[in-house]
Symmetry: C2
């Protein structure tokens, strides 16, 4: 055993590099995020989710014929098998992330012994997961679930299956943008779970199942649901100041703020804030928007000196609410988007694979005697 | 972005310490493994699986009353719900690890919104998983699945449910020993997956689902199945030398040999070898045993100079075969045992939790122009 002075413990693996990557780059000081060299704001404004998926997975922006083929493949894989529909019906009261984790695992069962390529599996997962999430959303809202529409792009079809409404041009842009903004973010905990699992040469379904489980956690994707719980608890803009003060005094983490890497404004937050504002349609929406804006003002006043700034989760919750999504599904909407990044990293890491196995530094006792049961105190 | 010269990439996180631990210590040079200070050989000879689970989870050997209570709690949680039985029946042709991953995820569904303590969830998982694996094993062998027996200890009951036979004293000891030997092994890839997932404060089912997915990989738990495939391919002891020579010449990894940490004989290998020998009952068993022993001789002769020695997987496959387990289930039997270590590490890490989020070093392009679709080549 090495001596304690000779070793260093890297808690949370903060600032530890585990591989090279060409997928995305975050400049946490400047608040920049690029996917393969293109700023995320540009992609959110101009690109579609399908194009970004292709770009993240294969490394170049698709030509027209490549994109059309890719879009067709994604469209044709959207429908759920009957057994998945049965499972969703049967477990409709479960948390959407628990059910999604199970659905991805079940996708792997049907293909357990089949020889699909990883690209085929990836297309299946990224195409069917939005359908499964929307199917569950509709049933749990007491609405009839909808079949996917071949007329709509990936993001617009997801909106349609979630809400039953056909999106206008503005909503199509917002849906594409929010999926693009949430598509990729380096080696966060869920992406890293997927990499660790696939580093054993296990399969794609196992890796994505693990990633969904990790994203569920309130320190990760679960935060957007927590923001909304807090907004509802606060109730009106006038209550924000005292509630935030109380949370800071009690050293509670404030959901929607702070990030391991960003030490300034998260570039995604600005865009989501703008879209949230554009989606305000009535007094209730206005009240929600004002609460979040007041939270932002208070936290910035009190904590920005400590490097705590609004993150991607702050406005995504109310944006999803204004779009008509139920709160319990916010993290699942995040998962629908993040599949792009998870799979991009699995593909990339597999080309330089090394099984991931860190160490724990043993501080327990040595030479413990195994006392017979009768002699123990 | 830091300059490339200023950073170091820790591939596979080899020799990187991520936390302190008091659960187990491996001395890879001396070939020693202790659980909380007691050599694993002592526990394999004298202890029971239930006792080792208690010891790993709670940090001390149980008193008589503590052990009895713990055994009773485990016994009373063994039975499967009808919906799990239905799932196993429905997907009985799937790979046992894919189905096990799904079953653990489904356990989380039923409890999705219930407020069970983590200890209750852990007891449920460790008690029901062997029943689920055995249920699948029996069905896939065309046999009637069996209900758990309250008369038997955990390991003996697992053997009974797998094979339909009541274990004699020798088999009970071997079953306890093999589960104890596979119970814990530091921050291997599956345990680390579980820790990464639960570091987001996600739930125990998500963490164990991820761990099962990681263990499935042929670079990890899947290796014992691969050893047996190789043994069957080799067919007879006389063929060993040429096959091993060929694999070495082609730089193929030889399953059952080599380990990230052990650079000498794995202490678990010796015990499993002895038990395999004791379980030889006929000429066919003898032939299998001789093939593995010849593999060991050849690999040691050719590769021990490079630090490649037999590992835990080398004899576990034939031991499981001699016990009557089907080859496709070997990794699932490993999972049944390793639940102890996965859960021990989740409990331990949660007390010092920090979300795990490493970095990738960006080597991709910057300032890439977003060309309109029509202008791309």
């Amino acid at each position: 055993m090495p001596k304690k002075d000779d070793i260093k413990i890297f808690k949370g693996l903060e600032n530890i590099y585990i591989c090279e990557t060409s997928i995305s780059f975050i400049d946490g000081k400047e608040g920049k995020l690029v996917y393969r060299g293109i700023p995320v704001e540009v992609l959110a404004e101009k690109s579609t989710y399908e194009e970004v998926v292709f770009f993240l997975w294969f490394g170049h922006l698709p030509r027209k014929d490549e994109l059309e083929e890719f879009e067709d493949e994604m469209k044709s894989a959207r429908k759920l098998d009957e057994e998945m529909k049965d499972m969703i019906e049967k477990f409709k009261t479960s948390h959407p992330m628990d059910l999604l984790r199970t659905i991805v695992s079940i996708m792997g069962l049907s293909n357990s012994e089949k020889k699909k390529s990883d690209e085929e599996k990836a297309l299946e997962i990224i195409s069917k997961v939005p359908t499964a999430v929307a199917y569950h959303h509709r049933i749990s809202m007491g609405e009839k679930p909808l079949e996917p529409s071949d007329e709509l792009d990936h993001a617009s079809n997801f909106y349609y299956m979630m809400t039953g409404r056909s999106p206008d041009e503005k909503i199509s842009r917002i849906m594409n943008a929010t999926l693009i903004l949430h598509a990729e973010q380096g080696l966060n905990a869920s992406t890293f779970s997927a990499i660790v699992i696939s580093s054993t040469l296990s399969d794609l379904y196992s890796a994505i199942t693990g990633a969904v489980g990790a994203l569920k956690g309130p320190l990760h994707g679960g935060a957007n649901e927590k923001v909304m719980e807090l907004v509802e608890k606060i109730g009106k803009p006038e209550n924000v100041e005292s509630e935030i003060e109380k949370m800071i005094a009690q050293k509670h983490r404030i959901p929607g703020f702070g990030h391991r890497i960003y030490k300034t404004f998260d570039p995604r937050y600005r865009i989501l804030k703008r879209y949230s504002k554009e989606m305000v349609r009535n007094d209730e929406d206005e009240r929600y928007y004002r609460i979040v804006e007041r939270m932002e003002e208070e936290v910035l006043k009190k904590l920005s000196g400590k490097g705590i700034f609004p993150n991607v989760d702050l406005y995504s919750g109310i944006l999803y609410k204004f779009l008509g999504f139920d709160r319990r599904f916010y993290t699942a909407v995040f998962a629908v988007a993040r599949l792009a990044g998870w799979i991009a990293h699995i593909f990339e890491y597999s080309k330089m694979n090394k099984i991931i196995r860190p160490c724990g530094y043993y501080v327990g006792p040595m030479d413990v005697e195994y006392k017979p049961l009768e002699e123990r105190e």
